[in-house]
Subunit: 318 residues, 2 copies
DNA sequence: CTGAAAGCGCTTACAG
DNA sequence: CTGAAAGCGCTTACAG
C-alpha cells in the first residue's frame, strides 16, 4: 500500500476503497501511528496552530480574571477543532519583536490579539503582514484593518448609568478605564450618552490602568473633586473593588452613601462586599467567536466584526 | 551564495567567512527573511515548542492563582530561549486523548505536566513515550519515572504547625488537600511530623478539591468534629479563604478564637480579611526550573528532581 | 481508486 | 570556508 493511500485515509478518506480504508485504519490502530506534524505543515503550508498574544504588561495575566476566561475559552474552542494555542506575552518591546519574528516564520496560521492599545505597533504590523488576525475588542485606530469580537461596551455602560439614575441618584460620576483602549473609550461614551450635558468634567476620572490599585487611586481623586457624589460607575469590576476599598476608608457606606456599579461580571464581582451590580460581558462567547472568526479567515472566508450584547446584573452595591 | 551558507549563518555562523556572514546578515535585515519553522523542524527533528499540560478540571485555571504564576513564569522562561509554549487542557478523557495524539505527532519537544494526580494515565503514558517530561510537584506513583520540580511541602507544613503551637494553641487541626496529589499528601505528612501521636483522627479533614468551596465545606466538617479547636492549618490559601468564610459564619473570630494558617502565599493570602499567615512557595522559580530541567532533558542531559525551600510568612490570621 | 513522483523549505554531512 | 546533494516525512496533482 502506497504512502499516498495512507495519507488519503488520514485526511478524510476521500478517493479510497473501503477495503484500503479499513486496512489502513487497522494498521494505524495497531501501531499508534500519528503523522509527523512538521512534515504535514511543510506540505500543506498550514501549521495547525494559532498564537494567543497578550499585548499587556504581564501583571495583568495574574490579576485580571477576564484573561483567564478568554484564554480558557479560546483554548477549548481551538482544541475542538484540533488547533493548538500558543501563548505569547508581548508586554515588552523585546517580546514584541519575538512575536513578529515568530509569525513571520509561519509558525502559526493566525493570531488572536488580546487587549490591544491605541498605537499598538503589533496591530499595524499584524494587519500589514496579511496574517489572519482577530482582536478582542475593537482595536483603536485599526477598526477596519483587523477583525474583532467585542462586547457592546457602550450599550452596557448606558444601561448601568440609567440604572443608577433609576435608583434616584443625583450625582452620578464615573471612574473610566484607560482611554487608549476601546473598552475604556466606549464605556465612557455610554456614560456621556445618558448624562449628556449634565455630566461635568470633574465627574469623570480616567484610571491609569485596569487594576485594583488604579481603581483605588482614581476613586480617591474623584472623591476629592466631587465630595457630594452619590453614585459611581466604575469601568471594570476589578477597578470597582479598588473603588470600594477607597470608599470604605473614607467612611462612605455602599450602597447607602454611594451606589457603585462595575463592569464585566467577572469573578471579583461576587467576591467583594457588597457584591457588585455590574454589566455582564459574555467573555466565554467572545473567545468562541474569536476562534470561529479567525479560522474562517484562515480558510479564506469573509467576516464581519462581531459585537455581542451585554446585560445588566443587579446585586447589592446599588 | 548557496542556500547552505545562508543556513549556516542563520544557525550560529560557524564555518562561514566574515564577508559571507555580513552579506547574509545584510540581506536578512533588508528582506526581513525568517526561516520557515516547519521546514526547519522537519530537518532538525526539533519543534522548538513545548506543551504546558494542565491535568485538572479547567475551573482551576480560572480560580487558582497558582496556575497563573506558573503559566506566566514558564511562558517567560521559554520565550527567553525562543521556545514556544503550547497550552493544553487535559481535564476530560477526550482532551487527554488529544494531548497524547499531539505529542505522538512530534509537535513538541517536551511536556510540562502541571498538577498531576495519583493514577493519572497521562504521566504513565508520557514517561513511557520517552518524550522529555517535567512535572510540577512530585508525581505520585511515578516519582522515579518523571523528573519534577516541587516546593518543600512537608518542611513548610512543619514550620506552620510549629508556628501555631508557638502561638500557644492547644488544639491544632488541619484541612488537608486532596490526598491524590503530592502537595496534599506531603503537607499532611508535615502536620503529622510535628504533632505525632497528639494528632487524633478527627483533627484531620481532607478537602475534596483545592477550591475555595472545598475549603469551606471541609472547615464546616472540622468544626463539627472538633468544636473546641483553636487552630487550623489549611493546605492552601484558596481553601483557607473558604475556611475563613465558614468560621465567620460560625461566629468564630480569627485569630482570636481560631488561628488560621494557609499555604502558597498566593495573591488571595493578602486579599482576605484577616491577611493570612502562610507558607511561601516559590512558584516563579518552580516554573523557571521546570523549563531548565525540561530543556536540559531535551538536550540529552541528566537531571535530578528539584525541591525548593519554602518559607513561613506571618501575617494577621495567627 | 491507486501508485509514482514532485515538491514543501530547510539542515547537514560530504567533497573539495 | 563553500556548494551540491541528500534527506527530513508528509501531501497532492497527475496518469493510469
Amino acid at each position: 500500500m502506497s504512502r499516498g493511500t495512507v495519507s488519503r485515509v488520514l485526511n478524510g478518506g476521500r478517493y479510497v476503497s473501503t477495503a484500503a480504508l479499513a486496512a489502513v485504519e487497522r494498521a494505524v490502530a495497531a501501531t499508534g501511528y500519528v503523522a509527523n506534524s512538521s512534515a504535514r505543515s511543510l506540505a500543506t503550508r498550514r501549521s495547525g496552530a494559532v498564537a494567543f498574544v497578550l499585548t499587556e504588561p504581564q501583571e495583568r495575566l495574574f490579576e485580571d480574571p477576564n484573561f483567564h476566561v478568554l484564554l480558557r475559552s479560546c483554548t477549548q474552542a481551538l482544541a475542538e477543532r484540533d488547533v493548538v494555542l500558543m501563548l505569547m506575552l508581548a508586554g515588552t518591546p523585546a517580546e514584541h519583536e519575538r512575536v513578529l519574528r515568530f509569525v513571520r516564520g509561519q509558525h502559526v496560521d493566525g493570531m488572536l490579539l488580546v487587549s490591544t492599545h491605541l498605537g499598538d505597533p503589533l496591530v499595524a504590523e499584524a494587519s500589514r503582514s496579511g496574517l489572519p488576525v482577530v482582536a478582542s475588542g475593537r482595536p483603536l485606530g485599526h477598526e477596519h484593518d483587523v477583525r474583532s469580537v467585542a462586547a457592546d461596551d457602550r450599550g452596557g455602560a448606558r444601561a448601568m448609568v440609567e440604572h443608577l439614575l433609576g435608583r434616584g441618584r443625583r450625582r452620578v460620576t464615573t471612574v473610566a478605564g484607560p482611554q487608549d483602549t476601546s473598552g475604556g473609550v466606549e464605556r465612557l461614551a455610554g456614560y456621556f450618552d445618558v448624562l449628556g450635558r449634565r455630566a461635568r468634567a470633574v465627574d469623570v476620572v480616567a484610571a491609569d490602568g485596569w487594576t485594583h490599585d488604579a481603581g483605588e487611586r482614581a476613586m480617591a481623586r474623584l472623591l476629592e473633586q466631587v465630595p457630594d457624589l452619590d453614585a459611581v460607575f466604575v469601568a471594570s469590576d476589578l477597578m470597582a473593588s479598588g473603588a470600594l476599598a477607597t470608599l470604605r476608608r473614607a467612611g462612605r457606606t455602599v450602597p447607602g452613601d454611594v451606589a457603585v456599579g462595575g463592569f464585566d461580571d467577572s469573578r471579583v464581582a461576587v467576591q467583594v462586599e457588597p457584591a457588585l451590580t455590574t454589566v455582564r460581558q459574555p467573555l466565554e462567547e467572545v473567545g468562541r467567536r474569536m476562534v470561529e472568526l479567525l479560522l474562517a479567515q484562515v480558510a479564506g472566508e469573509e467576516g464581519e466584526p462581531v459585537v455581542l450584547p451585554t446585560e445588566l446584573v443587579v446585586r447589592s452595591s446599588t
